[in-house]
């Protein structure tokens, strides 16, 4: 393993993801993104729809279709550059030491195969267990994610399960080979709050049991507050702010993060003060422009903002991409 500080699991350097568009142009969906995850840590990636969260997570698994786009930069997982390894080796990592659960539990399971077969497959692919052992292991996993009647569920089809159950199955599948890193792409967005609470609790338990690091992608700041150790805020394919969860929620620096927090109606806030939304809309990635992508929506923007895209400035442990903090140290 490379000599890095305190058990670093994943290090992403200068990741850029490019998509070909229909009219022959390109979309830079992710721009020079840096990221590290330590073992056992939960890193949350927040941002609005289309800002590049899913694409980032897919690129870690190297699951972005080759014909649709290409990625640049280094993805060091346990010291290996995933952009360099063979497809075969990559396959042995997927589902094994790095696994993933998706937003849509309704469509992420194959409707024509039984649950048992789908969980069994991942075990089959990454172990040399016998059929009976695989089944046993799958049942064990189902029990672990809190599914009652696990034996029976094994022989049922996805459509016979509720959304919450399916998401548990997805988690069981992802955890079956005790991965080092679990990427969870909006795992609870499609679920009801009471079910979300169940799933979040489950994830926390599993994390403790398996010492798995989690890359949690979400747009719900409540979930972030609940789960994350560290948070990265993404906007328009870039990291705009990064800090530990407490700092970020208590003293956000970037106007976008501030706006985001002001937009959420707070349950625990008893006063009836109106929300302060961010104006305008989420920008379209196709439009190339020079300045800060948040410029048009930013209440504090000034002339420099639309001329030049700011770099990340460092305020202690907190990183902010905003000209307001120009006086601080530049790190990227």
């Amino acid at each position: 393993m490379a000599v890095t500080e305190e058990k670093e699991l994943l290090r992403v350097e200068q990741l850029s993801i490019n998509f070909k568009t229909e009219d022959g142009g390109h979309i830079l969906a992710v721009k020079q993104l840096n990221l590290t995850i330590k073992e056992g840590e939960t890193l949350a990636l927040v941002g609005e729809s289309g800002c590049g969260k899913s694409v980032t997570s897919l690129s870690l698994m190297r699951l972005i279709p080759k014909n649709a786009g290409f990625t640049e930069g280094k993805i060091l997982f346990e010291g290996k550059d995933l952009n360099r390894v063979s497809e075969r080796e990559m396959r042995s990592i997927r589902g094994n030491s790095m696994s993933m659960i998706f937003q849509e539990p309704m469509t992420s399971l194959n409707p024509v195969h039984k649950i048992g077969k789908q969980i069994g497959e991942v075990i089959y692919l990454h172990s040399s267990l016998s059929k009976a052992q695989i089944r046993e292991k799958a049942i064990e996993m189902l029990k672990k994610v809190g599914i009652p009647r696990a034996e029976k569920i094994m022989d049922e089809y996805p459509h016979q399960l509720s959304g919450g159950m399916r998401q548990r199955v997805m988690i069981a599948m992802a955890m079956a080979c005790t991965p080092k890193l679990l990427i969870a792409d909006e795992p609870t967005t499609a679920l009801d709050v009471t079910i979300q609470a169940q799933i979040l609790e489950l994830m926390n338990e599993l994390k403790k049991d398996f010492q798995t690091a989690i890359l949690l992608i979400t747009h719900d700041l409540g979930v972030v507050a609940e789960m994350a150790d560290r948070v990265m805020v993404m906007y328009y394919g870039q990291i705009v702010e990064q800090a530990d969860v407490r700092t970020l929620l208590k003293s956000p620096k970037h106007p976008y993060t501030i706006g985001l927090l002001n937009s959420v109606p707070d349950m625990d806030d008893e006063s009836d003060k109106p929300l302060v939304p961010i104006m305008g809309n989420v920008p379209n990635l196709g439009v190339i422009q020079a300045g800060c992508p948040f410029y048009a929506r930013c209440p504090q923007a000034f002339q420099k903002c639309h001329l030049e895209n700011p770099p990340l400035f460092k305020l202690g442990e907190q990183l902010v991409r905003c000209w307001l903090y120009e006086s601080q140290e530049v790190i990227a």
């Binding site: 959304g163 009801d192 009471t194 719900d220 700041l221 609940e226 939304p277």
Partner: protein
Amino acid sequence: MTDALLDVKELKVYFPVGSGIFRRHSHFVKAVDDISFRVQKGETLGIVGESGCGKSTMGRSILRLIEPTSGSVKFKGHEVTALTKSELRRLRADIQIVFQDPYASLNPQLTIESILGEALSTHQIGNNAKERKEMVAELLNNVGLSPRHAGRYPHEFSGGQRQRIGIARAIAVNPALIIADEPVSALDVSVQAQILNLFQHLKKTYELTYIFIAHDLSVVKHVSDRIGVMYLGKMVELAGKKQLFQKPLHPYTQALMSAIPSLDPDVKKERIILKGDVPSPITPPQGCHFHPRCHYRMEACEHVKPRQIEVEPGHFVSCHLYDTTDNLTEK
């Protein structure tokens, strides 16, 4: 109590399961099962509940977009369920609906102008095309869009903007009541706040009454005066916002509130994690629909349907815990 703007009594909407030439149905989805409530002029009634509990169905059946199976809906004193087709068409200027999916709720083939223009011409608002054009411009202004966009097609707008157009269409006919069916669920947080503010703003401007449906309790809390909590076709609790949040009575409401993650990482609240999932409305549990997931389950809950009880003025709950008339042992 003054006459309510809307008075819903014992509303039931059942959907037959499976269909065929025999038309003999033994199974029904009891999407809305015996719900009663009133809405006063000028107030916002929020409705929360988990997916599939019948919120949309209830909203639609008030407008008779879905025909109610039984029950009564009185709007401004008129029985809606008894209206003829043409009377119903007139009613529709008075009650409007805003939908959840901003992508599906606008006809992709029509320009914004013709979408809004249709609303106006259907109810003979505005005397001629020119007048309507001006009205469309004004509507767009009022929902925060530029009138220059009138000639564009829906796909050229973002989700938030589309939702604004949907709202403009609803207010175009000067309704008294707007049923908003999860109008912000599909939007990003930052945009969601814009739309919520727009709703508040329009309410003042047009003196509107809302039934505001959402599954997100914090959103409902933000906009509503009173809140109804639904579970599996039933209204389990109905109370003023303050009452409900300070003193949630129904175990489900309590669980719902505790399930919402707090924005403050330091607040670790006492969480009630419910077991299991919402059961299928085709085969709802006997007795109280909530009993399989309830922490306070009693013997009676498994057999006896709870009545709606007004525990304190304006605070209704359907739970055996609060039913003092039957001699059930309290926990």
